[in-house]
């Protein structure tokens, strides 16, 4: 007749399981993340990066242009790629622990518009600087329309977060103000405006 819950991707098996939503965030904001935390003490507790605009993010959805990809490693092959949005660059990677994602990425010829679902991770490089890289869960070639739709979506979500940040008192917002004292909402508004302005009418 209809849906069998056990076939529907895990809802039932884990009782109160809820999939973490994919946040829409521009590269210029993601690049500024400096704070990563775990929700819970369990080994399998989800890891979040805290966005400077005051929202936790375990997963992100981005659409942009894959400009280059490189194959690395001998025994443990993995692919790195750069995905460009109107504000900057996302660093994406897929290794042998994500065989599906790696095969998808391996097949795509740059340049191409791509939609990426993945998990952001914060790394500190030996020189002390930070890098946010996105571990790909899936990557598909899309058209320019999808890229434009995403730009609108990411713009709207970013503006929503900025509005919430101004008034908000949620624990994540309080934490963000503490972790990112120099975040200037005006700069982020300008980033959003510039991103939107790049969409050709």
């Amino acid at each position: 007749m209809s849906a069998n819950p056990s076939e529907m991707g895990g809802g039932r098996r884990e009782g109160s399981f809820e999939r973490e939503p994919a946040r829409r965030v521009f590269a210029a904001e993601l690049r500024e993340c400096r704070y990563q935390f775990k929700d819970g003490t369990d080994e399998k507790s989800p890891t979040f990066v805290l966005l400077p605009t005051g929202e936790r993010s375990n997963r992100i959805f981005i659409v942009g242009t894959l400009t280059e990809k490189t194959r690395q490693g001998e025994q443990n092959v993995f692919y790195r790629g750069r995905v460009i949005d109107p504000t900057g660059t996302f660093f994406v990677m897929a290794g042998s622990y994500q065989p599906e994602a790696m095969q998808q990425l391996a097949k795509i010829e740059a340049p191409a518009f791509v939609a990426v679902i993945g998990k952001p991770n914060l790394y500190q490089k030996p020189d002390g600087s930070y890098l946010v890289s996105v571990r790909v869960e899936s990557i598909t070639v899309v058209d320019k329309d999808t890229r434009d739709l995403w730009t609108l979506d990411a713009a709207e979500r970013t503006l929503d977060r900025l509005d919430a940040l101004r008034e908000g008192t949620s624990p994540d917002i309080v934490k963000a103000k503490e972790q990112y004292p120099i975040v200037d909402p005006v700069v982020y508004r300008k980033m959003v405006y510039d991103a939107l302005a790049q969409i050709k009418m």
């Binding site: 991707g9 939503p21 829409r24 791509v114 939609a115 070639v141 979506d153 713009a155 508004r189 959003v192």
Partner: protein, 416 residues
Amino acid sequence: MDYSEVTDRISRKFSKSGHEIDRQKVEGKLRRLIEEFGVQPAEAERSVTNELNKEFGIAPVAGAGAVTPGGGATEEKKVAAIQSGDWVTLTGKVVSLSAPVSPAIAQNGIIADESGGIRFVVWAKSNAPKMEEGKWYKLESAVADEYKGVTNLKVHSGTTITAVDTTEPLIPAPVPVKDLKPGVASVRAKVVQEWDTTHDRMLQSGLLGDETGTIKFVIWKEQGKEKLVPGSVYSIFYAQADEFNERLSLNITGATIMQEEGDIQTAGGSGDAEVRGAIVHIAPGSGIIKRCPVAGCNRALSRQNYCPIHEIQNDFAYDLRIKGWLDDGEKTHNLLLKRDTVEALTGMTLDQAKEIAENNPLGMDEVFLQMREKVLGRYVTCKGREIENRLLANSCEKVAFDSSEHTKLLNRAGGA
């Protein structure tokens, strides 16, 4: 390790009742249990003591806290007031009997009075007279205990059962679905979904809903049981609510079920959910699938044409579906698309998919891959019914770029 202390203790216990124990043998047993089998010392002591009890023919001493019925009359109670650990006497009607799951059980079912219903078990060893469904009985000195978080009543050899001659009608009050807790309850609810059954002993499973919420229900196959009709409203008396993985479900196999007139506006299942978001995952089992041709089954077959119930079915029917996650940035919805929606969204018809499945070297996988390429990462608006985060979409369309939204956002970003 030295076992003489424990042996002393055991020895003292038995010397009280005039028995002499073989100390060497006892020590040997303790050593074996503890050193060879890794048994905890306390457990080893208990085990050896029990063995000696048996040897000397001494009735085991009841553990601390056990109640001895000792002849005195137990309290007459209403069903709703019964708590685990009580010795009770009650008068009630046997409203349901179900097939015993073990030879140790003579009868099990539900007994009810005007305050509510409770499950009972009659042990085979009790030699109690058989009770009949629909009749009233007085049970004296039954024991209430807890099994899987639910209080139930045990009829043992010390329980007296007497038939009570009454024809008093008993109409239970329905409980709102959101207030259900483990135990016996009655509801008035609508069948809002019917699911594929996951077990060959299962007659039907799905979702029941009323104004306050929804709950999973199951009917197991038993003589004379009939399926409920999706969309119909029923009064269901004395169903068993069980908790599993922190979720409640309602076993209505033994319940008295009456179809009702009218309709219920069920919570959350109003059928007009609309979600706009990106498709962020396409689950395995999407694309073209084979379904079991047996009437009323329609389950998805495995690659080897194996139906979990009807085994190999080479005369299958093809179907299309997409299962995945639709994400609006705040919340992720479990998405299920049926054949017509899949065709409209992907532009691939069932016939085209069949052609690929039968002629492409990758077969059905090729359909999955092509469909994934077409929909993954795309923005869509899906409309349909959403229950418990599962969206059964009856329409799903790609979102088109809207320049007025673009202008609005430019103004919003620039205007601050």
